[in-house]
Structures are given as C-alpha cells and as structure tokens.
Amino acid sequence: MYTVSDLRKGLTIVVDGEPYVVTSFEFVKPGKGQALYRTRLRNMLSGVVIDKTYRSGEALESASLEQRKMQYLYKDEHNYYFMDTASYEQVGIAAEAMGDAPNYLIDNLMVDVLFFRGQAIGINVPTFVNLHVTQSAPWAKGDTSGADSKVVTVETGYQIRVPPFVQEGDLIQIDTRTGTYITRVKE
C-alpha cells in the first residue's frame, strides 16, 4: 500500500482492479480547506486517462508488476521493442503505453519492462540518463521565463531547458522523473 504522500510521476497503482500509472499530480488546498492531491492516471492496459482526487492520508493500492531488465532495440509505427539479453525473448509495447519514456530512449539502453499478468504494459527508464546535445537553438528574444537559460535538443529529439554554457555535442545528465537538466557530464 502507498499513501498519497508517496505520489510521484510514474508510480503504478491499482484502481478498480486495473493498473494505472501516475502521469501527473498536483497538491492543491482551497482556502482554509483540506489538502487534496489531484492526479492524472493512465490505465496501463487500455491507455485511457482519468483524473482522480485524493485526500491527504488516503491509501493507494500498489500495483504488483513484475519487472524485467531488457534492452531497447527499435521501434516501428505502432510499437517499441525490447529484448531480454539472457533469453533473447522480445516484447513489443504500444507507443501509447510508453508515456514520456521515448524522450530518453536510445538504442541499447537497459530499461525495466513492466509486466501485469504476463503482459508487457510499459517501461521504467533509469532515474538519470545521459544524452548528447544535437542542436542548440538560439536564445529566444523576449523569453522571460529565465533570461539566463536556453532550450536545446538532445539525440532523442527531446527539447530541454539548460544553462547557456551547454553546447552542441555536450553530454548532459537528465532527471527522467521531472524531465529537467542536472549537469554536464565529462566523456
């Protein structure tokens, strides 16, 4: 069991007997009212997205998912494919079930593939991944959200806000829970 204070992006829970992954959550508190957590949950079997509000202290049922370390191979139009490097068994996962994981997927990356009743239903990427900057866009004029930072593109196509000293070709570390820049990595 979890409580709402364990809520985080990527947490897998059971609602009405089906596994859901938390795709976002927000702490809210109407004036003088009680603390509430508004969550957006994706059904890991059907891909259907629902909104659910929890009260502070409420319990959440954890989803018992089997995890297996597998290697990312490639994707086609509909699926992402992963391989068990010991047994060479391959599984495909529908693109809709991948959430924001493709932002961090490079060939041969080892990930945790999640199984629910024997069916591969999603993946967990490592908390920190290192990716190369492939394109450094010019600083956008009038960008008031942080005049001392800029947006770059990494090798997966993901765009991310970084400090201005980051250059094309640099390897950077990203926190996959928040999708934010951590630091530059020496190669």
Binding site: E26, F27, G31, K32, G33, A35, L36, T144, A147
Partner: protein, 307 residues
C-alpha cells in the same frame, strides 16, 4: 556562470518581487496604516482544522500573524499591516511553500465588503507601479483590472458551476473537492473575482451574517485561477470565539495533530477589539501573477528542495 545557475537565472523575478513589496508598503503607508512586526514564534496558534503549525522549541512558528495583530487592535491600533514569513506544515505544491510571505492588514470600523474595495485599490496600485495597465496577461489569460470586480457568493458559485448545491456538497462531505475541481478554475477570468459568504463552519475566526447565520462573512479573492487573499469581518464575541477554538482543537486532536494550548491572552483581550475587518494576501502569489510565473518556485530565491 555561477555554479548555482538556477539561482542566477531568477535575477529578473527577484528584482520584480522586491519592487512589488515596495509598492505594497507605499500603498499602506499612504493610507495611514502603521506597519507592525509581531513575533513569528508563538506559544498558542489559532486552532484551525486544516492548517498545521510547525513546532519550534516548545512553541510554534505562526501560521499567520492574526492573533498578535488582533491584540494590537484591541489595544488601540486601528489601522495596521504586516508583511512577514509564515509556516504551514506539509504544504508544498505549484502554489504552496511550507514557508511563504503573507501580507496581512486590519482596519477598525470596516467589514468584508470594505476589504474587497481595499483589494481592488491595492492590486491596481501595485500593477501600475510595475508598469502594467488596466489589463494583465497571466498564463495566456487576459484579465481586466477595471473595477468594480465581480462579487459572487459561494452559494451562487455552486449553483453556477457545480452539479450540486453548497448545502448538498457539505452534506456529502465533498465541499473542497467540488471547489477545487468545478469552481476555482472559473474564478478570476476575465476579471478578478471575490467569492464571499462561506459556510459557517469554514471561518473559525469570522463573524456570522446576522441575517443568515448559516454563512460567515468571509471573502476570498481569485485572479486568473490563483487564490490570492482570504479575509473576514472579524468575530469579536470572545465567548463564541472560545467555543469555536475548542471545537477546532478537538477536531485537530482527533486527527492526531500536535496539540495547541488555547490562546488565553488573545481571548482575554478580544472583547476590547472594535468591529474590524482583516485579510491576508499571499505575496508570493501576487508576484506570480504580476510576473506571469506558472509556479511559485519561479518567484522564490530558494525552493525547500534546494536548501
């Protein structure tokens, strides 16, 4: 580039924040309010069901300066304001910091409708000081500051935006959920909005309406979906105040919260307080609004996680 580039990148927001605080001070000083400073570590916070104080060496960090400011009113200080840090345990989110900055002001002889007019004048004054006109853009929403701003009762808001009435929401114990999900997103666009006359049980320090004791004379200001301020026509009946504190404290203890002693000095002096209205406004959220920040993190020098 400094090691802490995130902190360095907040320079613009922090400079704007300082200018906003300056403009707030100017507003109150011009209107003959006395700026006061009251202790932030106190022995007995006001018991409120859903606000929890941080213990500090046997006492508590205040969750608002309310009780000390009311003791000043009772002692003959009729117009006072304060800008101070407050602490509320466990509150962290897009709009919440467990340590945040509150502006609180009181004016003897006023009621909650006067507070609404004060809010209109204050926000207009600060927006002008920041070089903004009669219109703000917050997170893509155009907001007109032209006064008067709409004032709607909580009961009306439920009948406009929710599928059940205020009374039904209380009966089914889902008042907060309906407020957050169905009502708040509509408030404060395209004009700032006052929501007033809250259910009696949701204003532990507010006066009940003489002509309708099922509601308290409490008001909240919303702008662009942000809840900015909460005020009351203050309860000045000490017997009634004591009864409400006892009830709130019993509820707090039933949840296993840290017990508070009753604020006896406040209760002793309360009968000397003239009829007064008072309101607290979240300074960090006012800064968010005026610098168009999506999260409170963007207008603070440090987040709790960065310390």
């Amino acid at each position: 580039m400094p090691t802490n580039w995130r902190l360095a990148s907040r320079r613009t927001a922090l400079a704007q924040r300082a200018a906003i605080v300056q403009a707030i001070r100017e507003f109150f000083v011009q209107r003959d309010y006395l700026e006061v400073e009251t202790p932030q570590r106190i022995p007995a916070p006001a018991p409120e069901s859903h606000i929890d104080a941080v213990p500090a060496d046997g006492w508590f960090l205040h969750t608002s300066p309310e009780l000390c400011m009311k003791r000043l009113l009772a002692a003959g200080y009729p117009r006072i304001f304060q800008i101070c840090h407050c602490w509320r345990k466990g509150e962290r989110g897009r709009y919440h910091f467990p340590e945040f900055t509150l502006l609180e002001w009181y004016s003897a002889g006023s009621n909650y409708h006067d507070l609404m007019s004060d809010c209109e004048a204050l926000v207009q004054h600060v927006a002008r000081a920041m070089g903004q006109g009669e219109e703000l853009v917050y997170q893509g929403q155009r907001i007109s500051l032209s006064t008067p701003w709409p004032r709607i009762s909580v009961r009306e808001a439920f009948s406009c935006y929710a599928r059940l009435s205020m009374a039904e929401a209380i009966e089914h114990d889902c008042f907060d959920e309906v407020m957050v999900r169905d009502i708040e997103p509509h408030l404060g666009v395209p004009s700032p909005t006052f929501l007033y006359d809250y259910p009696a049980q949701r204003g532990a320090l507010a006066r009940l309406r003489a002509d309708d004791p099922s509601v308290a004379e409490r008001v909240e200001l919303y702008i662009g979906g942000l809840e900015l301020a909460n005020g009351f026509s203050e309860l000045i009946d000490a017997g009634e105040q004591r009864a409400r504190f006892v009830q709130e404290e019993a509820y707090r203890r039933s949840l296993g919260r840290n017990p508070y002693p009753l604020p006896e000095n406040f209760l002793t002096e309360l009968p000397e307080m003239p009829p007064t209205a008072g309101i607290a406004l979240g300074v960090d959220r006012l800064v968010m609004l005026l610098v168009n920040a999506a999260t409170i993190d963007e207008v603070m020098a440090f987040t709790p996680e960065e310390l």
